[in-house]
Structures are given as C-alpha cells and as structure tokens.
Amino acid sequence: MDRALTASERIRLPTRPIYRRLGDRLFQIVVVALGLSIIALALLLAEVLFTDGLEPLRRFGFWGFLTGTTWDPVRGVHGTWPFLVGTLITAIASLALSFFPAIGVAIFSAEYAPRWLAGIVDTIVDLLAAVPSVVVGIWGIFVLVPLMQSHVYLPVYFWAFENAPGLLPVLGPPAGYNLVTAIIVLALMIVPYTTALARDAIRLVPRSQREAARALGATRWEVMRMAVLPYARGAITAGAILSLGRAIGETMAVAMLVGNSNTLPFTFFGPAATMPSVIVNEFREAVEDLHLASLMTVGFYLFLISLTVNLIAAWLQRKLAVGGRSL
C-alpha cells in the first residue's frame, strides 16, 4: 500500500470485503437458528409430555383427568384435582403474602434509600433469588418447621381444641409439614422476584412524571401514589404474575415441606401436595406404566398452566402499559 487512505476515502469505498457480507449472513443465520430452536425445544417438550401422558388422557378424558379427585396408583385411578388445588392454593396464597412486602422493599430501594443502602438491599435481594431451592427446603426442615410447630401449629390447635372445636376439621392434625409451611417458604422464595421486577419498573418511570407531581405540591409518598406507581403498574403486575408462575412451578422446597398427601380435603396444618411435588415424590417409585404416564400427564397440565400464566403476564403488561403520544 503506497499511502494510507483518509477516513473519507475509506468511507466511500464500495462494500468490498467479502467477509463483511459473509459476516452479515452468518450472523443472521445463527440468530434465526437460535430463535427457531427455542421454539422447537418448547414444542418438543410439550410433545413428549403429551405423548408419554396420552394413555391416562385416553382413559380418563382431558377434563376427567383434570377434575378427578382420586389419585390411587394401586387401584389404577388417577386424577390431578387434589394437586391442582394444592398448587393453586400455595401459589396464590404465597403471592398474596409476599406482594405488599415486596413492593415495600422495591419502593424503599428505588426511591427512599440512599444510594449505598439501595446497593446493599439490591445485592441481598439478588442473592436471595439465587439460593438453590433445596437449600431453602433444608432450612425449612431444620428451622422453620420446628419453629412453626412449637409456636404456631400446636398452640393454635390446642386453643381451637378448647375453645372452637368447630375449627378442628379445617385446621387438621398439626403436622409440621403442611400447606402453611409450604406457603410461607414459597412466599419467601418469590419475594426477591417480585421485588426485583417492581424495583426496575419503578426506576424506569421518567423523571418528568415525578417532577410534574412534585410541581403540584405532592409529598414524596404522594408522588409515588399519583405518578410513579400508576405509571409502573403494568410492569409491576406482570412481575407479580411471573412470580406466581415461579410459585406454581417451584418443586424441591415444596416437595420437602408440604407433607405429601394425595387426598382431599387439604387442611391448614395437615399434609397436602402440589403438582410438582407429586411428580418429584412419586417418580422413582412409579412401577406401573399407568402411574408413570399419569405423572407425565400431570406434568403436561403443569406445562399448560405455566404457559397460560406467562401469557397472561405478557398480556397484562401490554394492556396496562402506559401508551400514548408525547410520553
């Protein structure tokens, strides 16, 4: 090369080097392939669950299996209703229990805490989200269950025994491994998710919205209430629904703590089960083909429910999102 080209000369050169166009093509192919393979993976998963769990669906019917209240592998009768109920109760109750505390932490970290403290809070929240669920389960077994047993379940049970025997069937025998324990642990496990999603949503609210509220004479809390939270409501709601999805699918900690009973009715202090917990607890012992297939079918329904929950989250986010011009 006799002399270096100037920048403006180089800019005007035709797009000559073959590798540049090749790079473009390669990149496009890789990205498209990755995108398609994710879709294929999801479809494959659903397909496996569906075909392997086809026999129970044939025998009991789509709705029959869903609403069947008996789960008796010995007699070969399978219905997922008890586990569906257990899953919905634990997931919804744990979301209800954790939602407001999570929003509180999110508001504190995003709006009130000085920067250094917010950094610490954020780190702890992220750490909590990263604790493996089997560890949470162990903590539940060794700390939470004995604690709840001696300070809540037994005292409440004895109190009811003396004063309100009508409550006993609802409370159930005070086993330490029960619905309430599972709900508390699930709530603790999803707090970090709800918190992190709400916190980011709050931080993304434009400064102009906060200033507009301030200019009207809003106090700090009023700025939150009139400008920030409404603006962020779509993302906050979607975050809560995603957390609900996590609670629905949470397996290990729940299986370790929920007590595992296949029969309705569930009671507060008695053992219960959820869809993931029955799968993980019975999979190894399932010797009958029908039993194994039924567990697959439970997995298939769980897949459908999770999919639905995630779609609802996406839909809510779009519906509640702040639209419109000039914003």
Binding site: S208, L216, G217, Y231
Partner: protein, 283 residues
Amino acid sequence: MDPVTMPPTVPSNPKPQQAGQGEARATVVAHAAPRMVTEGITVLYGKTVGVHDVSLTFRDKTVTALIGPSGCGKTTFLRALNRMHDLSRGVKVTGKAVLDGQDIYANGVDPVTIRRRIGMVFQKPTPFPTMSIYDNVVAGLKLVGIRDRALLDEVAERSLRQAALWEEVEDRLRAPASGISGGQQQRLSIARALAVEAEVLLMDEPTSSLDPQSTMRIEELIQELKNTVTIVIVTHNMQQAARVSDYTAFFYEGDLVEVSDTNTMFTNPKQRRTNDYITGRFG
C-alpha cells in the same frame, strides 16, 4: 480579572435594571407591584455553576421572559423559583426568593405549599398517562383531600376554560389524557397548575415541542392568563419573547446580563452581548 481591562459596559454582576424604563408597551401596567423578588440566587451543581448571583423582580400580573443561549442557566434559575432543585442530590441553592414578602428558602417554609402557589409547566407536556383528562386537572385538589364532587367539577371546568381547552375536551373528560394531542396536553398541564390556584406560573420553553398552531394557542393563552397570574417564561425564541412578555431578562453563561421592559430590550439594549444575541450574532 484586572478591573481596568474589564469592559465598563458589562459589569460582571449587573444590578437588576429598574423595569419600566423607556416606552412602556400598552399592555404593561407601568409600575405593577413586585410579586416575587430574587436576591442573589446562585445554583451550584456540585462544583459547576448553574446560575450565579441573580437578582430579579417579577411584577404582579406581568409576563417576564428569560432568554439567552442554550446552557446559560435559564432552566436552572426557573427551577430555583419553586424549589424544584430540592429534589436533586448534589444541587445547592443560595440566595433568597421572596414571594409576597416571604423567602421561600427560609427555615420552616414547606416546599410543598410553595409549589402549590408557584405552578410549573415543563418543556414536554407531562400529563399523568393513566389518569383521565378530568383526573389530571383535579389531581392537585385531590392531593389536599378535596373529594366534593360538585367542587371538583366546578374547578375542572373553570381551569380548563382558563387554559382554553374546555371546548375541545368537554365531551371526553373521562378519556385518558394520553389520547389528546401534544398541544392539548400542554394546555392540560397548564390547567392542572391553575386548578390549584397557582399565583405564579413558571413555564420552561412550553412550546418548544409543539407545532406552530399549538404554539399560537399557548401564546394567546399566556396573554389571557396574565390578567390573573404572574408568569415567568423561558424561551429561546426571541420572537416569542417579544410577543408575549412585558419584561425580558437576558442570561449569559450563568449570569443575568440585562433586564428591562421587553420593548426597550429589543429596540435599545444596553449591553453589547444582549444586542449581539437578539440580533442573532450568536446563540
């Protein structure tokens, strides 16, 4: 700086000029009483000077325009007038801003009450997008706990009429505020400030994001509003300053260079820099 080399006509700290010099325009009440007076307002962003030692008088029911090249401190000064800087970390305001004899920076003054009396309209319209048009207008009233339906209705209509928006939205008060045009949104922001009976209205380039039609509406509106409120408007459009204001203050690099009634300012500025700026030699 060596005082000898300093150009004698450009004092580094010009005292505010007595307003009403030269020929007052017909619209100017020749010696309207001062409504708000600043004394040596300085705003520091960390070590950066936003504005330096600004003393200005805003007369009752007049429009004062703040002009000057970009970055000269107009916004910074305007936001010092209703304590908006309180919200930002690391911003320091010194000096006084006296509203009706009361320094808003004095100890014990509640900035929340101050901001109700001194409303603000921003460069971009800022409706609350999840609220209806109606709820936007009465947002400030609901803040103080007013729930009386009839009263809210009355204030909403009055404020929207004052902001020249009533006719355009009266049949869709319940529609989301995000659904109206940018110009309408800006008038909605004005109505919202008027609803809390702001006595002083601070406007930071309120038309810079609007089309000419909407700009004209807002300018007409400013002319009507000054019958009831005192207006301070930042603009980088000198024709706009000439059209809407009674007084004009020229800022340059954080200093107030010159202030006088608008006519004088545009026909016979005292400072060379002012002249250069308004004749378009820089800016």
